[in-house]
Structure formats: C-alpha cells, structure tokens
C-alpha cells in the first residue's frame, strides 16, 4: 500500500531510527512500511497517523476503489 510516511518524516528531519523510536518499533519496520513492503496493523497505522497529525486516508492510499477501477 502506498503511503506518504517517508515524505512526512523527511519534512520533520527525522531518520528512520527516530521514527522507529517514537513508535517503539524496529527501524526495519519503518523501512518496510515506507517502501510499501509491509502494511501496518490498524493500531500501528493509527499510532503513525496520530504522530503526524493526519488521518489514515491522508497517510495511506490503497489505489483506486473497485468502482473507480471499473469505470
């Protein structure tokens, strides 16, 4: 799933390790989420959203909906 976490992190001048420390996850977790290799669970996704002051919809993009794709 695409997301804008890398951009938001860069805006704040945080390293992946900084973000990992704030979320209490491994740096590898942050890397996997940023690159779209791993989709976080809802609790972790909400924690990320709270940290950046954004909604889940602003952070994550799961691509066009089924209805949009059909058009």
């Amino acid at each position: 799933m695409k997301n804008i976490i890398r951009a938001l992190r860069a805006e704040r001048g945080w390293s992946q390790q900084d973000l990992a420390d704030k979320l209490d996850v491994s740096r590898q977790s942050v890397n996997a989420i940023e690159t779209g290799r791993y989709d976080p669970s809802l609790p972790l996704a909400f924690a990320i959203a709270r940290l950046f002051g954004r909604s889940l919809e602003e952070l994550f993009d799961d691509g066009p909906s089924v209805a949009e794709a059909a058009e």
Binding site: D24, S26, R27, Q28, A32, Y38, S41
Partner: protein
C-alpha cells in the same frame, strides 16, 4: 498470554533472560562433561545431567517465544517466517536422514544434531530475508 510491549522493552527483557540462561547452559555442559564420568555414573546421575543441561536451553526457547510475542508486529512476522522456514528445512532433512537409515545407507545418526541444525537454518532464513529486503 503475553501482550506486545514494544520493540525496545521486548528486546531488553529478552537479553536480560537470554544471557543468564545461556551462561547456565554453558556451565552445566562444562560441568557434566568434564567432572562427571558418564561411563561409570548411575542412571539417575545420567538422567539428572541430561535434564540439568536441557532446562536452561528450554528456558532460552521460552524467552525466544516470549520475545516474538512481545516485539513489534513486523519483527514478529519476520521471526515467525524464518522459524517456519528453518522448521521446514529441518523436517526435510530429518525425513531424508530417516529414509537413509531405513534404506540402510547410514546408521546411528545423532538426533541431537537436529536442534542446532534448526537454529542454523532459522538463522540463515532470517539473514537471507534481511539481505533480500535490504532492511
């Protein structure tokens, strides 16, 4: 059931338990193999020695499982995937060795070696996954 505690505290709890248990394991292996003559020892001493050496290692396995339960979700996924791969490779090896014994190609394979082989396969699987994903 153990609840997730976060990556850092889970790692800290793991290391706090891992090193004492591993030290106990090394000490019991050294003591039982250096100071007890197993050829002349009675059955109770042999069984006791085997149990004394196994218990710390069982403890290590328990803290590994606790780490997996408590750590962050992505690390848990990676650890469990590597364990499953290590287990599958070990099961395949055990099957191969079992058939070699049934067909008379080899005899007397020490089952004891399957444990270390599992950890080797688990470690390689975990390392290969890390390298492949360039974490």
């Amino acid at each position: 059931m153990t609840q997730p505690k976060g990556f850092k505290s889970a790692n800290r709890r793991y290391l706090q338990a891992f090193w004492p248990l591993m030290s106990m394991y090394v000490v019991t292996v050294v003591v039982t193999s250096s100071f007890i003559d197993m050829e002349t020892a009675g059955a109770s001493v042999r069984i006791g020695s085997a149990a004394a050496t196994t218990l710390p290692l069982a403890g290590v396995l328990w803290v590994m499982l606790r780490l997996i339960a408590e750590t962050d979700e992505y690390t848990r996924l990676r650890q469990l995937t590597a364990m499953a791969r290590g287990g599958a490779i070990t099961a395949a090896l055990a099957t191969f060795v079992g058939f070699l014994q049934i067909y008379g190609a080899i005899e007397g394979f020490p089952v004891f070696l399957l444990g270390p082989f599992f950890f080797l396969a688990y470690g390689f699987s975990y390392g290969a996954a890390c390298l492949g994903k360039r974490d």
